[in-house]
Structures are given as structure tokens and as C-alpha cells.
Symmetry: C2
DNA sequence: TTATGAAACTTCAAGCTTGAAATAATTTGC
DNA sequence: GCAAATTATTTCAAGCTTGAAGTTTCATAA
């Protein structure tokens, strides 16, 4: 949607529609800024950062399907991103004995070090970009977002 | 980012980081659902819907660069989407006498009719997907999102 | 067994997205 | 007037994204 400021329609449901538009514009703006900084400062991309962030939380590794589910993207998508991270030496696939269809994906030593540096910058960027949301307000907003997420998530 | 529930880190700035993660997950989930429905029910895509929504609000038409700025996407991106909408007969480019570099882009008659139908469905989907946010809560959330948007938007 | 079905991935075509380079038209400064 | 800078747009290569189709492996059960 990303509809805008001018007409300001009213009627039943318009407040929710407006909320959605703001939500989308906010996340797109911030995403664009993060994307740009990741490219400029670390020569990487948001999808790669996302995958590394997921793997960083899982030292034992994750299956491709775990990654796909966690990141809310398709299976085929993850394949490509992991391929690129592997070719950069940041991530490794480990064939498993138990089930030869699957492979555990994890950060390499280098991947882990690299991610730690990027993540620190990332967190400070978020602090900056959301600078005029107080920590208290942040907590309240987070709670509200949770409440509507639980409504329908995991349905499709 | 889209980091997740498990570790729940704490420290300075963590509340903002958590807010960002929730924000992103919420908008991605809803976006994915809208995308799916647009495809299934109307055989179209979110980017096309976005462009049509922008043009619907501007009967006199918009320049490519207006569209690009308004939708927060690159120039080259808009070119491709408009090309496809033109080939579907939903949008038209009109060369201008004044400045021959530019062209006014607007919805065709058919595009306008088509969009009205899709937009009605879209609005009801939003009502459904954000169903357990009260209208009142929606207004408050919208206000909060505004406040942090104004902080840094239009900087880059 | 062994076929039949399900599960985990990968591949593929089409479309979206970006940033950079190329084109074309207009504006500015001399 | 005219070269130089600016503006509006398109083109391009690379990467992201999806849904569908294809592969390989595993699980089930007749």
C-alpha cells in the first residue's frame, strides 16, 4: 500500500488501514537505511545478515527448512543466500549421517567473528534510527505489536 | 534482522532492537499474506498494487520520479513495474509538451475500475488481519509510529 | 521386500529491487 | 548562443524472492 498523507480517508476500518500504511512505511524506511549501511560499511546485504543472525543464535546449526520457517521466506530463497555465504566462507553445510536429505548449516569461525562485528554496528544503528522512541515507549509498542501478531500468525 | 524469541537479550538499547525485530516480523507477515491473496484472487502483485494505489490518489497523473519518491523505491524499479502495468492496459504514459524528458503516468479507465475493486478487498483484508487491534489502539500505535518516523526520515 | 507417499532440498522461470552507468532534454553561466 | 552542469528517465548486471516442478532420501505398510 504505502498510501499517503493527503486524502486522509475516514470510515469503519480506516484507522487499521492507516496503521498498516504507517507500519509498512516505517519498516521500509528503516530497512532501506540498514540495507544501505550494510552495503557501504560491510559490503553485505540484509538477507545475508538475517541468515547469519539466525545461525548466530544456533551454534549447533540449523536445517535449511528451519531457516526458511524462522526467516519467513521460501525454501528456494534460503538456498541461494546460503550458497553465497558458503562461497564467502562465512557459513558451512555439514552433511548428516542420520538423514542424508538434510544438512546442518552453521557459521564458520570466520562467519561468527564477522557477524559479531556487524551485529554490534547494527544494534547501534537501530538505537540511532529509533532514537526518539524512549525505551519505555519501545516496550509498550512491542507489546502492542505482539498482541496483533498472535491474532493470525501461523495460519497460512 | 528478524531475530527471535529465544535468548531475549537485555542491556541498553535492547528494547529498541526488540521493537525493530517485532516491527519487521509483523510487517513481513502481513505483507506475505497480502501478496498471496493478491496473487490468488486478482492475479496481481503488491508492487503493482502500490503503484496503482499511488496513481489512484492522483487523477492528474504522476511523474516517474514522484512515484519513486512516494513509494520509497528506486527509479529503475518503477520503470519496470509501470512497463508491466502499461502492457496490461491498466496504466498509460503521456508525453508532455513542456518537458520532453518526463511523462505523466496515470491509470487508464480500466485501471481505475480494476483498482477500485482490488482496493476494497485489500481494505477488508487489513481489517481482518489487524482484527484484534481496536480502532482506538490503532490510532495510538499510528501516533507512536509517526513520532519516530519524523525523527530521521528524509535524511538520506 | 517394495511401492507409495511424504519430507528436505534444489532448480527454475518470472518478477522485484538496487545502485551505477548511459541517454536525452533542460537549465545555467559565461 | 553555447558549453557545462543538472534533471528525468531508462538500461543493465547482480542479487533477492516466490511458487511450482524436480530430485533424492526416508518412512510406512501391504
Amino acid at each position: 500500500m504505502v498510501a499517503g498523507p493527503l486524502p486522509t480517508p475516514s470510515g469503519p476500518g480506516k484507522d487499521r488501514l492507516r496503521l498498516w500504511v504507517r507500519l509498512l512505511r516505517a519498516s521500509r524506511s528503516i530497512e532501506a537505511e540498514l540495507r544501505e549501511r550494510l552495503r557501504q560499511e560491510f559490503n553485505t546485504t540484509l538477507p545475508r545478515f538475517d541468515v547469519m543472525a539466525a545461525l548466530y543464535r544456533a551454534p549447533e546449526g540449523m536445517l535449511m527448512s528451519d531457516l526458511s520457517r524462522f526467516l519467513l521466506v521460501s525454501n528456494g530463497n534460503v538456498t541461494g543466500i546460503v550458497d553465497r555465504l558458503v562461497s564467502e566462507g562465512l557459513v558451512a553445510r555439514a552433511r548428516r549421517n542420520g538423514d542424508r536429505r538434510t544438512s546442518m548449516v552453521r557459521l564458520t569461525e570466520e562467519g561468527s567473528k564477522t557477524f559479531a562485528v556487524i551485529a554490534a554496528a547494527h544494534e547501534s544503528w537501530i538505537g540511532e534510527l529509533l532514537g526518539n522512541v524512549s525505551e519505555d515507549e519501545a516496550r509498550r509498542l512491542t507489546g502492542m505489536l505482539n498482541s496483533f501478531r498472535s491474532n493470525w500468525e501461523g495460519r497460512e
